[in-house]
């Protein structure tokens, strides 16, 4: 069992007290958790097929040719059609996910040109993009990529930023002075140009893009950690630990870091919005993840290029604004909960 110290418990209670932050956090947690099962919610493969008394679970199975279900083709079964066929023949039934489209699937309808407007009968709840791919499907898979990109980037930049900042603050002296200058110089490297140059030479994938954003993004946290460590290291409880003979590692990990927790937690939501924002803008500019990766930035680009198909830009902007506002609400609530002025008194 994790025993939270009362300070953390009190801060958590105060966080819950800020309603919009707490509800945003709950919604975000559900959304992030749902990315584990996006395939079950948005997919062109059926969840369950019962054909002539046999059960099939195509979402987590291999490719099944149409002939499996008595259809006259050997390429992958179109489960939406199969559903209609089985309903007529009575040989079985098909349960489709709520959004029965894949983000890569190009849908065409007789007598219409893409983009198709939202149409509940076709189950394109948010319409399709200019290539005929379902907007909701692309939003869902784009969200999965963006949020995990942002979370992994967050962990990487925080681990390195905190470690370096903490070391600079704790050891001080020349290493601190040199470290600061190096970081200042490094911070002034124009990240966007570097990424554009690299993206024009190679096609960046998820990890390369993350690596680039990480290499140019870990510095932010060092400043705050450096100052916080300086402040904590000068306090008497650290001196007391030192007089007991505690090692540097013990002092940093048992004493200083737990006491800078509020600072670290406060920055997390803002780092998440930053990560999502970076990925989306790079995709928008065309230097992000390669097509046809589902991406909000690419969708945004399509939307602004096709303003007469207003459903594209409306969907993606609402999703983006909604997500960023929720994360910001969480950030605000955390900041208020951890505000030291509200629950400490000077003796």
């Amino acid at each position: 069992m994790i025993r939270l110290d009362p300070l953390t418990r009190r801060q958590f209670a105060r966080f819950r007290g800020t309603k919009r932050g707490w509800y945003s956090a709950l919604i975000l947690m559900v959304l992030v958790a749902s990315t584990a099962v996006t395939e079950l919610l948005v997919n062109n493969r059926a969840l369950v097929v019962n054909y002539q008394g046999e059960w099939h679970f195509p979402v987590y199975a291999d490719f099944k040719p149409g002939t499996t279900f008595g259809l006259d083709y050997a390429y992958e079964t179109n489960y939406r059609d199969l559903k209609a066929v089985l309903e007529q023949s009575g040989d079985g039934f098909v349960i489709m996910p709520p959004v029965p489209f894949s983000p890569f699937e190009i849908n065409s309808y007789d007598g219409q040109f893409a983009p198709h407007p939202p149409n509940a009968a076709q189950q394109h709840y948010l319409g399709t993009d200019t290539a005929g791919r379902d907007v909701l499907a692309r939003l869902a898979y784009g969200f999965r990529i963006a949020i995990w990109f942002s979370l992994v980037l967050l962990v990487a930049t925080f681990v390195v930023g905190i470690a370096i900042g903490c070391a600079m603050g704790y050891y001080g002296g020349l290493s601190d002075l040199i470290g600061q200058r190096v970081i200042e110089v490094w911070s002034n490297v124009p990240m966007l140009y570097i990424i554009i140059i690299i993206a024009s030479v190679i096609t960046p994938d998820f990890w390369i893009l993350m690596g680039l954003l990480f290499i140019f993004g870990w510095m932010g946290m060092t400043w705050y950690m450096r100052t916080a460590t300086y402040r904590e290291a000068a306090r008497d409880y650290v001196l007391a630990a030192k007089s007991l003979g505690a090692s540097d590692g013990r002092i940093v990990f048992r004493h200083i870091l737990p006491n800078t927790l509020s600072l670290i937690v406060t920055f997390i939501p803002f780092a998440v919005t930053g990560g999502i924002g970076s990925l989306t803008s790079l995709d928008y500019l065309g230097y992000g993840l390669p097509p046809p990766t589902p991406s909000w930035g690419e969708l945004l680009k399509q939307g602004t290029d096709n303003l007469d198909s207003a459903w594209i830009v409306t969907s993606v902007v609402s999703a983006l604004v909604g997500l960023l506002v929720m994360v910001t609400f969480v950030g605000e609530a955390i900041r208020d909960a951890f505000d030291p002025k509200q629950h400490t008194t000077y003796q």
Binding site: P6, L177, D236, Y237, L239, K242, S243, L244, G245, Q347
Partner: protein
Amino acid sequence: MSLLKITDLSKRFPVKGGVLKRTLGEVHAVDRVSLTLEAGETLGIVGESGCGKSTLGKTLLQLTEVTDGRIEFEGVDITHRSRRALLPFRRDAQMVFQDAYEALNARHNVARILSEPFEIHGMPGPHDDRVLALLARVGLGADAFHRYPHEFSGGQRQRIGIARAIALAPKLLVCDEPVSALDVSVQSQIMNLLMDLQRERNLGMLFIAHDLAVVKHLSHRIAVMYLGQIVEVGPGDALFKRPKHPYTRALIDAIPVIDPDQAQPLKPLEGDVPSPINRPNGCAFASRCRFATDACRQTRPVLGPVDDKHQVACIRADEIDLSAF
């Protein structure tokens, strides 16, 4: 062999400034201090704010680096040692801090705070029994075990601080104004606890305070510090009855007298303490001393014997008559 012997200990802090962070000068926080402490003895150190008495305590415990001088503990030189080499000394010498709340990690409960000394010194756990014994010794109940520092009163927190300090059965305890942040009623409880512990364990104690009355109550010997130097040291009685340094005399006069019939008009010291960066060449106290002569302003006094236990750093100590102040 003394428990603790300090020879010419100095601690200077560089003053940096300018773009290139050059060293512009030095603050002489502790300036060539020598003293000894025997087992079972309490040495009180008094002086006004900023005179370097806390820095002296922290420096002799090697919590900040020694600039100059030598510290011997039980005859062994412990100056400039690595953390590992200092571990045995850490076991034997502990500190009680002024602000107990600052000195306790607010995120650790009492059990964790008091187990830490045993963990650091590699004793096999669990430490619960040891912690409970410590709590009992400092007069706290077993219910304190799972509680956090903010749940205690100031006096109770100081008891926790003392419990941590005596956890490893030290031989030397440096008490850095342990009662000055407490209510008067609680002060005497904590002082009694410290005195009991000292008698019980034959502790050598360095008791730092700015309040001469407190120090007088529990010290065998008293050292008076002024601007980083010891100006007078001697047995408590001798120092109070026959002070030899004008500064000591001024400190004694500043103790409030409760009986209004005996109260005398206060004769506060005039002038300011000189800057510890640009120390005067002569006696540091000369700028505020009514007996100062030109010789005082030019020659730096050194501690010299008054009798075999009493020493003073004043070149006019024999001439001036402080009883007729």
